[in-house]
Subunit: 349 residues, 2 copies
């Protein structure tokens, strides 16, 4: 089937570009001796995770246990879940998962560490736990190297747990100083820091400038989106991920309506102007989204589209678009090669 | 199972409130002799559509063919798809669907009408087509009563089609004048307007003030959300739809992190401040969302939550949250009564 026979809205992934994106970033990290642990939140597809592993990734990153369960079930053997696992049933699931695959997790408080230790001790398992460090993100994470070192010591002495290193996101000028200070504090207690895992696609080509980072977690780099384009880390010709839509209405001279809205593109703005880049009409502005309609201003375009015309959109944020579709279509030279179910879609738990 | 045994994040729907919301709005429309045709985009669940029909709705509204196919497959007999159906394969699907259920659609251009007529004539079917009127929304729709009347005449003379009336959204002060002018123009050609369908939850208790409206399409009224609360059409005690989350991190005195982010709540803001109302901490501010984390400022709260505590969130926009979950849990008196798959989830085509 040709790409222009697919019903819209549809997500197509250019397989040549996908493979090139995977290979290029792997080669970069290999060159600098940094472990690659891609974040699968972007694609949620075991087949793509397998491509990343086959290219040289040491394992994958999942944000939720539900994602990790799907990936482990598909045979992925090394999974990092940088999330505070809290609550009895989640801890039971974590214990089960730890029997299927090499799992590591994070914690940022003693409460979380106590829960992890309790279940792992009961099950006679050993779980590597990294300390999540808030080095500027303002999300989870301990707030200082002192707190990081204290929590690392708690982990190190907790039955069923092993201190697994430090985790942060995104890599920036605060990363190395925070890590160095934490390492110094831990050195005085004889506790080594074996793994320092950073993350982000916007900083993907500067990972090697962080002397302390031993492992990197990037997600969007496989696909690319407007955010990655704006960051300057990917070029338009690297973008593998596109949403093909149809113009279903041209109510005024300048207005056109796409058959995809916030239920296809999400409402993620990410400080970008508008909701996507239309490749055939780069001057067009996707100025608002209803649930199933994209509202476009074509006034800046020398030529304006007809009803029924198909247009190709690079969305603002590929990771959330993935989660809105039941499947994505892999294409090569505009011909459909594979249809992948988004197996981890909706795995919020 | 009790509500507090469910893993989080999870959507729970209070069945008493759901039933009351369905009954109350049906009684209001019945009292005023206005047909009720609820929009299922809010719930995407055939069982709830059936409850709406059983309460007295004349049929349902679906935004996409994919939703209508699921609903028709579940036995719903009267389905309105107020969308421009464009393209060969979509028209084939529409023809098939027209054999399963009483279908009506809209059009806002001759191009769309020609496509509909062509397939319906070929299949020897008759499809009611309403004219979509842009009475202020600025989305699809003809721009004036003159254009509406012209398109109605095109539909009326198109083989395989029947002019089915006028459609608009949302009801407001422009609705009646637009409809009256269109009717006057059509009367001179002997074409009656049998059905005028309006829509919206924010205007749900003023439907009867629009003398021209014969049918109403509301979606959110079954569940309720912050948008409906802000509009003043629903009270907090009417809200049937809640997202239960767990506090997984308390990195600073004031900051708390929920285990649900934009992949649970969506990024829909709808001119509201923050991303949800936390019932147990009404002064808290859900100030940003990562994909799997909700960032909350608890500085305004007299008491602050512990890690592991569960909190209940009324989201900004229930319709897009529905589409992010694989299932929702129906509860009565805090006990689970039913788990419904979100059958039309991801039906964007």
């Amino acid at each position: 089937m040709r790409i222009d026979e697919l019903e819209t809205p549809v997500v197509v992934v250019d397989l040549d570009r996908l493979e090139a994106n995977i290979a290029r970033f792997q080669a970069y990290l290999d060159r600098h001796g940094i472990a690659n642990r891609p974040h699968i939140k972007t694609h949620k597809i075991p087949e793509i995770a397998r491509m990343q592993i086959d290219a040289g990734a040491v394992g994958i990153t999942c944000q939720k246990l539900g994602e990790a369960e799907v990936m482990a079930g598909a045979g992925i053997e090394d999974i990092f879940v940088p999330y505070n696992i809290v609550g009895g049933s989640k801890l039971e699931r974590l214990a089960t998962l730890t029997r299927w695959a090499r799992i590591s997790v994070t914690a940022d408080s003693e409460v979380v560490v106590r829960g992890l230790s309790s279940i792992m001790r009961r099950e006679a398992l050993t779980l590597p736990v990294l300390v999540e460090c808030d080095t500027s993100m303002g999300r989870c994470g301990v707030q200082s190297p002192r707190e990081a070192a204290e929590l690392a010591r708690v982990i190190a002495r907790s039955p069923g747990l092993r201190f697994g290193g430090l985790m942060t996101y995104p890599n920036n000028e605060h990363t190395d100083p925070f890590v160095r200070q934490t390492k110094a504090l831990l050195a005085s207690h004889g506790i080594p820091v074996e793994r320092v895992t950073g993350g982000g696609t916007a900083c993907m080509w500067r990972v090697h400038t962080h002397a302390e980072v031993t492992e990197h977690r990037a997600g969007e780099y496989v696909y690319g989106d407007r955010h990655a384009l704006r960051s300057g880390v990917m070029r338009l010709e690297d973008c593998a991920f596109k949403v093909i839509t149809t113009i279903v209405s041209r109510p005024t001279t300048d207005r056109g309506i796409l058959d995809g809205g916030s239920k296809a593109f999400s409402s993620d703005v990410r400080d970008l102007e508008g909701h996507g880049l239309i490749l055939e009409y780069p001057e067009a502005r996707v100025y608002t989204l209803s649930e199933e309609h994209g509202h476009v201003d074509f006034s800046g375009c020398p030529r304006k589209p007809e009803i029924g015309e198909r247009v190709t959109v690079i969305p603002n944020h590929c990771c959330v678009v993935t989660n809105l579709f039941n499947q994505i279509v892999g294409v090569r030279n505009d011909t459909v090669e594979v249809v992948w179910p988004v197996a981890c879609r909706g795995a919020v738990q």
